[in-house]
Symmetry: C2
Subunit: 890 residues, 2 copies
């Protein structure tokens, strides 16, 4: 026979799956001797059985409930429904993961017309008894009978008005009796039945209602948002009632064993005298600070402090404790690990190590890597009021305030004058770069998480919101419209790049704080981790930032951003538009010294840490003017200036742009496909890199270049491109008379590359998994199209568990990564492997990378601390897997 | 010690890898006692060693040549260079695969100033001796010394003119001596050395030259075209010379044991009396039919006929035999399996079975499936002269002649009047469909093998050439320009959709011929094959054609072509532009009866064979007007008619088109992603299918519908869409009160689907591998972009061995197919699996499908015979693998 019902002394804190978090902790506290009102827990399994049986509690479960109730009645010395000494109980939900406020609770169950009299007599406090009864009717009617609270409140309001009272405490026992009678009528009117008087029936109905609340809308939504599986079910806790509202020697409160917002080691909390829990929640009376309790009830306070210490030492963590004092007796109603801010989490973890409560590894596991992000960017003060105008994609974290400008030149001008501006554009192009540099943040109405604006902003560490489609941006009129709201040029807005929210006006912000504890925790993480952490950085500024945040090297240095500098664009276009090799070579020769100085700057910043440079990747047409804009210009000129030179020039350009245009640029002529068709481009890049190596070597600065060939799908592509790089290196070495080391590797970002990684490894010194593109090709999703068109709905409909561009899809994309590593190492045991997609900065993906046996992850500089921590957590969780020597440069 | 040199009596026909085809056959013929001039073969391995040693013949090989030469001299009773009885030899290449005319040959080797006198004396024919010597000098100088033949021919011409001769036979022995002297001077002038007189030196130099010729340009090109690996190398055959030019009792000829163009069982060939082989090749004299030999030399003829019979019976195949008669004695110089036309191959194979020479399986293996294609379409008569204007992609096979039109309406009009037209467009859209129906063939300058024109033309079985970029098509001027050539409206052109050639004027054509033997061979193939063969067909006409060609069902019925009918376009656009569900439903209701009648027609045509219907696949914007055209119109109207209603309408439409536009439509909102977001569309399609099933069932016609969900990447997509289909089926069944069976399956065309096929199989009754899209996503190639931009160069540079869209990439894409089958069957042992990409009609891909364990392939109707044959060949080649019961409906 399955055990569905557990008395509190039959469970413990490890039984969360079965008893839910609350039930398990109540059992644990009971067993360590804390003053917990006795009770029992109906398991989550009973909940699942309830749903499987078509929302019916089985006879077996009912029988176990009866048995547990008898045990409870014996322990309490009271009986449910007893007319002389009645037991009153609370019925509360309790799922495996905390879902505060999402599901239903019924208090004071067991009250009826008879027992209320007994309670009045026993407590010698009729007012308390009738008040409790009316509270019960109201709560039960709402939760179980589904009658809107409004009717009860309205009625109570009428009574108050009629009697001329201002607040509830003014009502007398007789008044409450009148209210009870009125409440019962409301119930009768809505349910066509009398309010149930049988406490057993009340109990079963309440349990049903708690089970049902597992699937109410707000609970479902909460689970979706917090990624809690639907199949877990909730447990139900039945517990003897204690009353904090039995006079001034009673009260109720909530406390944290440490300050949950700063992490300081002080008792933190509040309480209300002569009150029940919901009075605290309702916010009608203002609670006192917990230390005031020492004055009100010194003995109770001391006992509570001792209990807190006991609990923290027992759980070895900061605890969130609910307590009630009933006539001078302290009861602990609930305890759980307390929620905390990022700052507090770090401080507590580090201090607990120093206090000897936990070890370093436990401290590392205590902090959610996602929280670190909050600490690295300015953020909106959560306490501040705000009007959210619209919500877009959270493209680059951080918050920023400034006046709205619609034009990059304007942004540069105002920014130069020291003004704070937010650049608002339908989308950005390389032409807007100079404006972005001077803006505090960027908002676009089009484009996804990999749009130009997003990528550049993340690189710059600037707040950015993309694809904010609700904003109708009229650049000409210099105006944004959202519904009936209008924002004009010069108006102030605040944006939160971590949430995607665009807000009106200036909102108070909190500056980033990198505490000593933060540094301490990360240095422990570095000791614990196996996975290397590198950063994606395309320029010396980002490279410096990466080092500052603890990166062990650059895992992805994209060279295309170096081509979008407005000063270089004409030369790049000259190169693209060249009709023959000679003209192309002439343009490339002009680009060579520019590229060389790019690399010199980055190498110098990285001071001998490895730098993985990806040769040119995007299709050529990305460097040319927009096809549609050009088409419009040509069409206009054909009418207005049909004989003009301008028309001829534009027509020529349009023809070229059309020739280079692609139906599916993502799958087009890019990556190494450019290098195979135009080897002179990769040759120029290799030469620039190696020339830079020579320059630094001559200066005595160490350099570790790793040249990466993108988009390889067949080993022959890599073979050809490797040859170009190696020959160039030999040439440069010969000319300079100086030797140097370098690696040549490849991105694995096409399914075919992963599937034939054994062949490819023969030509590669390293693999870097480009999981952005690999996700696009493995799913057959164009990221730009999917995010705007169907991906959101897919996640809402649960077709996909996550956005695969944010969280690595382990079943599909991950299988290819594993295949790639396995096949690659089958021919080259020491093949260096890493990941440079955005997943390199996401914690579950980092754990996957660790399990797949990668050597390092690479992510944007601002995510490096997160990655260091997540990598350490992965190592600690799976320590037994570590068989390979970690990369030296973590 | 490795044996590099084999006497003819030391080898046999199985040693082709080592001795080359010619050498192995010479050995075989020697051993079965045929009159083969004796000789020896230097192996292909010696050739590879030659290249590895940097083009040097090793001493070991030289020693073996010397030994073999001594054996040959003994057998011949003559010695190389002997001044009284000299041995003369031929030196010929001979690779594993026949490469006719690609490599070099030297005849009469051993001639020098001394031996020529001996030959004159021995033959009592000085004229013959000097003629032979001058031929040798000319050939050796050309092949070995690399002196252009032109100099020798020019000199001979001078002599002839000076002497007043019209042809060579008029030259006397003395004349030839003069020529020899002149030839020697030419050699001296070009090489600064005397013509080599030492026969041993001549021999070694000639062997070097033959080895070198393996890598001459035309040989390399031939190998690339015929997919012969470069590493095989060539053997060299050294054989005693016999002379067909020793008088009227001598001669030389070539014969096939059966007619190589019709297959008729008659000796077929020609010969020249008193001539050497190259006289036949040179075409100076017109040869006689072989049967005339019976009159000239009756005994020799009978012996030759007997030898032919012996050879055909020995090799059990039609043979191509070279012979020489020297003074009444017959010598066989060479024999090989004869090349033949498709028609002949089929007739011979079938007749040889009936004659008891070979069995059915051998007959099946005798015919190259690719050849069948020739027989199903009109084709250019190969003998005809033609001017090729340009070459594009061979998008749909067959040849067609007609006058050029540039407009679909015009094509329809003229076609309706019974005129033959070729529709020439930059590209076609669904708007051109009505014109394509009336055209004989279609040519486009843009677009690849899957462009609209290509897909539609293949479906219609019409000749089509796509992406013919050399054609500058000016639709307005109704003119095509290619270089300096101009083709105007109304000019006649001929196109060959099998080669991609566009030709001027009308070229004679051969009609398709489906002989009884063709049918016989395919019926044997059907008995032998395990793989089912289905056809891709979207309408009743194609379905009928598919059945006619022997398809066992429809493997892919695309529903999008049903939406492009001009009558339906407005309703489809209404559906797409609908802002809400209600409006969309209204449009869908109008489409329902149209779709239903589509399916009724197809089901009726298929008479109970299974029909796999793919629900809507392309992105919505494909059904809307072209974005750029619209942009141009709007821009013009903004200037010319800024207040017009037309502008407002177009602007509205442009806005919608922009909303639906995608950066990468191939990876965009299409396939089941449409169905998930707009389930009502798939619901309508399912209802139309099931309504059609009911209609046919009521008529008593059996129906086997298989509904296919496209582009599934995650099992949840299929789960949702399956639910829509199943619920619709239940609804239709309930309403009609009639039951029916159906399957619901999915395309596997996204890497993730193959990688998670075990999960997907839980929801699928069948898998159909869509290898077109799977190739695009596995390689990360957009087919439209790749074919025009880099794929051609990739194949030329040997980055890729083949075009992966034509020949399935077994290492990458194939690995995913195998994974998909394996994972799918791991949860559903009897899961039906097929392929419906274009690879389903390509022979090596069909063999792969067989090996991967698929149940069927599906291809365009015209490729069904090819697939039936290729499937049978796969079965015969790998019989031992067959463990599973084949699909019932082959």
């Amino acid at each position: 026979m399955t055990k569905f019902v557990y008395l509190f002394n039959e469970g413990n804190s490890k039984m969360k799956d079965l008893l839910g978090g609350k039930g398990a902790n109540l059992a644990e506290m009971t067993n360590i001797g804390l003053p917990v009102p006795f009770g029992f827990t109906i398991s989550t399994q009973a909940c699942n059985d309830y749903y499987e049986a078509g929302k019916k509690i089985s006879d077996e479960v009912k029988a176990q409930i009866d048995a547990a109730l008898i045990a409870l009645e014996e322990k309490a010395g009271k009986k449910l429904g007893d007319s002389s000494n009645p037991l009153l109980v609370s019925v509360r939900s309790g799922s495996v993961f905390s879902m505060p406020g999402m599901m239903d609770t019924v208090l004071n169950l067991g009250m009826n017309d008879e027992t209320v009299e007994a309670v009045a007599k026993l407590t010698e406090n009729p007012r308390f008894a009738y008040d409790s009864y009316r509270r019960f009717i109201q709560m039960f009617s709402n939760v179980v009978l589904e009658i809107d609270v409004f009717y009860f409140e309205q009625y109570l309001e009428e009574i108050r008005e009629r009697k001329g009272y201002n607040s509830d405490p003014e009502l007398t026992a007789e008044d409450w009796k009148e209210v009870i009678a009125g409440y019962k009528e409301i119930v009768k009117k809505h349910t066509k039945q009398d309010f149930p008087q049988d406490p057993k029936q009340q109990l079963i109905l309440a349990i049903n209602a708690v089970f049902d609340s597992w699937n109410n809308q707000r609970a479902i939504l909460y689970r979706r948002l917090n990624k809690i599986p639907d199949h877990l079910g909730t447990a139900v806790n039945i517990q003897s009632m204690v009353f904090g509202n039995m006079g001034n020697d009673s009260g109720t409160g909530v406390a944290f064993t440490r300050d949950p917002s700063t992490g300081e080691n002080v008792l933190y909390g509040e309480y209300l005298i002569n009150a029940q829990g919901e009075d605290v929640v309702a916010g009608i009376r203002t609670p006192q600070e917990i230390k005031v309790l020492k004055q009100d009830m010194s003995e109770v306070y001391d006992k509570f402090v001792a209990t807190c210490e006991l609990l923290e030492n027992h759980y070895k963590d900061m605890m969130d404790i609910e307590f009630t004092v009933e006539r001078g007796v302290l009861y602990i109603l609930q305890c759980r690990v307390g929620k905390r801010t990022a700052q507090a989490a770090i401080r507590m973890a580090v201090e607990m190590v120093k206090e000897g409560i936990i070890d370093q590894k436990t401290a590392i596991l205590r902090v959610d890597p996602d929280q670190l992000n909050q600490l690295l960017h300015s953020r909106i003060d959560e306490k501040s009021e705000r009007v959210v105008l619209a919500k877009g994609l959270p493209a680059s974290p951080g918050a920023a305030t400034g006046t709205v400008v619609f034009d990059a030149d304007e942004a540069e001008k105002l920014g130069n004058d020291g003004k704070k501006v937010i650049l608002v554009r339908p989308e950005t192009t390389p032409d807007d770069l100079h404006g972005m540099v001077y803006a505090q943040g960027i908002v676009t109405s089009r484009g996804g998480m990999t749009s130009h604006a997003a990528v550049v902003a993340r690189g710059m560490g600037k707040a950015c919101i993309c694809g904010c489609e609700a904003l109708k941006i009229d650049v000409k009129a210099q105006q944004i419209t959202v519904g009936d709201k209008v924002v004009n040029y010069g108006d102030t807005i605040t944006i939160d790049g971590s949430t995607g929210e665009v807000m009106l006006g200036e909102i108070p912000m909190i500056d980033p704080e990198l505490s000593d504890e933060f540094q301490q925790l990360l240095s422990w993480a570095d000791e614990a981790r196996y996975l290397g952490v590198r950063a994606n950085a395309d320029n010396p500024e980002d490279a410096k930032k990466a080092l500052e945040f603890g990166a062990g090297g650059i895992g992805l240095c994209r060279t295309e951003h170096m081509f979008t500098d407005p000063k270089r664009t004409p030369i790049v276009q000259e190169m693209i538009l060249a009709d023959n090799l000679e003209d192309r070579m002439t343009a490339l020769e002009k680009l060579l010294p520019m590229q060389q100085s790019d690399f010199e700057g980055i190498f110098e910043a990285m001071q001998g840490h490895p730098v993985t440079i990806r040769l040119l990747d995007p299709p050529m047409h990305e460097f040319l003017p927009d096809k549609e804009e050009l088409l419009v210009e040509v069409t206009k000129l054909q009418i207005t200036a049909p004989d003009s030179e301008e028309l001829k020039e534009k027509e020529f350009l349009l023809k070229k742009v059309n020739q280079l245009a692609e139906t599916n640029p993502m799958l087009g002529h890019r990556g190494c496909r450019l290098g195979v068709i135009f080897p002179e481009i990769y040759e120029m890049q290799a030469e620039a890199i190696f020339n830079a190596v020579i320059t630094l070597t001559e200066k005595g600065i160490p350099v570790k270049p790793e040249i990466m060939i993108p988009l390889v799908g067949h080993v022959n592509e890599l073979k050809l491109m490797r040859k170009v790089v190696v020959e160039t290196a030999e040439k440069v070495k010969d000319e300079a008379g100086i030797g140097f080391d370098y690696l040549v590797g490849t991105m694995i970002e096409i399914p075919r590359a992963a599937l034939t990684a054994d062949q490819i490894a023969e030509e590669a010194d390293f693999f870097s998994f480009g999981t952005n593109d690999l996700t696009q090709t493995t799913f057959g999703y164009s990221r730009d199209d999917a995010e705007g068109k169907f991906l959101q709905s897919y996640i809402e409909q649960k077709v996909l568990p996550e956005n695969p561009f944010a969280v690595l899809d382990q079943q599909g994309v991950g299988k290819l990564v594993e295949t790639g590593v396995k096949l690659g190492r089958s021919v080259k045991l020491e093949l260096k492997t890493g990941i440079c997609g955005e997943h390199g900065g996401e914690k579950s993906s980092i754990e996957f990378c660790y399990k797949a046996g990668l050597d390092y992850v690479s992510c944007s500089p601002f995510r490096v601390p997160l990655a260091r921590l997540a990598a350490a957590q992965a190592s600690i969780r799976h320590e037994q897997n570590e068989t390979k020597v970690p990369e030296l440069s973590k």
